[in-house]
């Protein structure tokens, strides 16, 4: 690897002038977003500094327990996001149960596969590899699972009359929900397919950009990126299918009925603490 670019505080301070430029534009044009721009920029800096500090400690310690803790925290955050995004919510935290299962299974399986076969760090759970890999895989899993879960739950509500018409004429639940299920999985796979088609031409993927800026040979960076795309595609597929199937199972029962009564539309805004639906 060639010399890495080292950023000094002065470099960051210079770049931060661009944030002030944004705020200035907002102020001059009376867009009213200067406060948001400044707050979100400050938030971003603090968040990243915390992540950097935590990762530095974890990397230095290279302890399995600390690595596991960070990974579990990431999985929890991604699963929570998957559960909250769909327009419909299952009763008794059903969204959370499905997302926890799908996100952890797809994320862990893909990352372990990559660590044990392609990347092979020593030890295999080395946090420097495991944690960033999990982060990027979870990003794709989050998209695929939340879109597929939303597709199946919202699709069942929208297509209720058609699904029940098929059931009423003697179709199995699997046959009746089939079109909704397939559409949900298909939509869940669109982001990764788009990402693969656009890679390198329309966008330089973030990891690759980072490696190039850090001085890595372009062909090495490209190989990493290809491996990563394969991992993301696999994880997206598992996540989309898993979320759609578990979602479909959750809105049926032992007599193969369509149980939309188990769904509630997600509230547009969170209710004040202390109130329950």
């Amino acid at each position: 690897m060639k010399e890495t670019v080292h950023l000094g505080l002065l470099d960051l301070a210079t770049a931060s002038a661009l944030i002030l430029l944004d705020a200035g534009i907002s102020f001059a044009l009376r867009l009213g977003v200067h406060r948001q721009v400044l707050v979100s920029a400050a938030r971003m800096v603090v968040q990243l500094l915390i992540v950097g500090l935590v990762l530095r400690v974890v990397f230095a310690g290279a302890s399995p327990a600390a690595t596991l803790a960070v990974v579990l925290f990431m999985i929890g955050a991604a699963a929570n996001e998957v559960a909250l995004r769909p327009k419909q919510r299952l009763a008794r935290l059903g969204n959370h149960r499905i997302s926890a299962l799908v996100v952890s299974a797809a994320g862990v399986a893909t990352v372990i596969l990559a660590l044990l076969t392609a990347i092979r760090p020593d030890p295999w759970y080395a946090p420097r590899y495991a944690i960033p890999l999990m982060g990027i895989v979870l990003g794709s899993v989050l998209n695929a699972a939340s879109i597929a879960l939303d597709g199946v739950l919202d699709g069942a509500v929208r297509e209720r009359a058609r699904i029940e018409a098929r059931l009423a004429l003697g179709a199995t639940f699997h046959q009746a929900i089939g079109p909704v299920l397939r559409e949900a999985v298909r939509r869940g796979l669109i982001p990764i397919v788009n990402q693969m088609s656009a890679a390198g031409i329309i966008t330089l993927p973030g990891i690759m950009t980072g490696q190039l800026l850090a001085g890595m040979d372009p062909m090495e960076a490209v190989k990493y990126q290809i491996l990563l795309m394969f991992l993301l595609a696999g994880a997206s597929g598992v996540a989309a299918v898993g979320a759609a199937l578990l979602g479909a199972r959750a809105i049926s029962d032992g007599r193969q009925r369509l149980r939309v009564d188990r769904l509630r539309p997600a509230a547009a805004k969170r209710k004040p603490a202390g109130t329950r639906a």
């Binding site: 297509e159 029940e164 018409a165 059931l167 009423a168 004429l169 003697g170 179709a171 199995t172």
Partner: protein, 214 residues
């Protein structure tokens, strides 16, 4: 496993219900013979559609429904629903044309009855979006009958039809009744009950408020 509630020696009724209830309606206890036509009347929201949906096992319920003495839970739900077919007031279609909702044998069956219901011979291949509500309602009846059910649960099957259409549908239904089909039909038209019913039920506030055999 159990004895029918009525005399053990007699043949079980075609359709029976025992302590049949949900949080919205019931309890219902009744027996309906093969070839009978029950016309169900009552105010909107009284639980008529709820009863039909429960009988088709589309809504959760307590108690049991039996077909020829065999409880619904003794057979796979798809088998029960193919034998006890429910047709809602606004039947839904999931393909582009009527024909796509039938398999080959069912399609022949449906085609044979088009003229009887006053439908064009080429209507099965039309785009469903271009058909009138009345045409779709008659096609839905052909679709329900094509599954060869033993019990047909009809929710206002002639609501969208003119008097000629109503008469044609009733003639077709009478032919199936004569062949042993059992029909439970929600209807708001008293004349229809007089023409079709072997018994009339009145459902009010989720309960079977009255039975009338003409």
């Amino acid at each position: 496993m159990f004895k029918p509630a009525h005399e053990a020696a007699s043949r079980p009724a075609r359709l029976s219900a025992r302590r049949f209830r949900s949080s919205h309606a019931g309890p219902f206890d009744f027996e309906v013979e093969a070839g009978a036509c029950v016309v169900i009347q009552g105010p909107s929201g009284a639980g008529k559609s709820v009863l039909l949906r429960m009988l088709a096992d589309l809504d959760p319920h307590e108690g049991e429904a039996l077909l020829d003495g065999a409880p619904a839970i003794s057979m796979p739900p798809a088998v029960w629903r193919a034998r006890v077919v429910y047709q809602p007031a606004e039947p839904a279609w999931w393909e582009a044309t009527p024909a796509a909702h039938f398999d080959d044998a069912q399609l022949e069956d449906a085609r044979a009855h088009l003229a009887q219901l006053g439908l064009r011979p080429d209507i099965l291949d039309d785009d469903l979006q271009h058909l009138s509500t009345g045409e779709r309602q008659r096609l839905a009846l052909l679709r329900s009958l094509s599954r060869k059910p033993q019990v047909l649960l009809l929710d206002e099957p002639t609501a969208a039809l003119d008097p000629d259409g109503v008469a044609r549908v009733e003639t077709l239904l009478r032919a199936h009744l004569a062949d042993g089909l059992t029909i439970l039909m929600v209807s708001h038209a008293p004349e229809q009950a007089r023409r079709m019913a072997s018994q009339t039920w009145r459902i009010d506030a989720g309960k079977l408020a009255g039975r009338l055999a003409p």
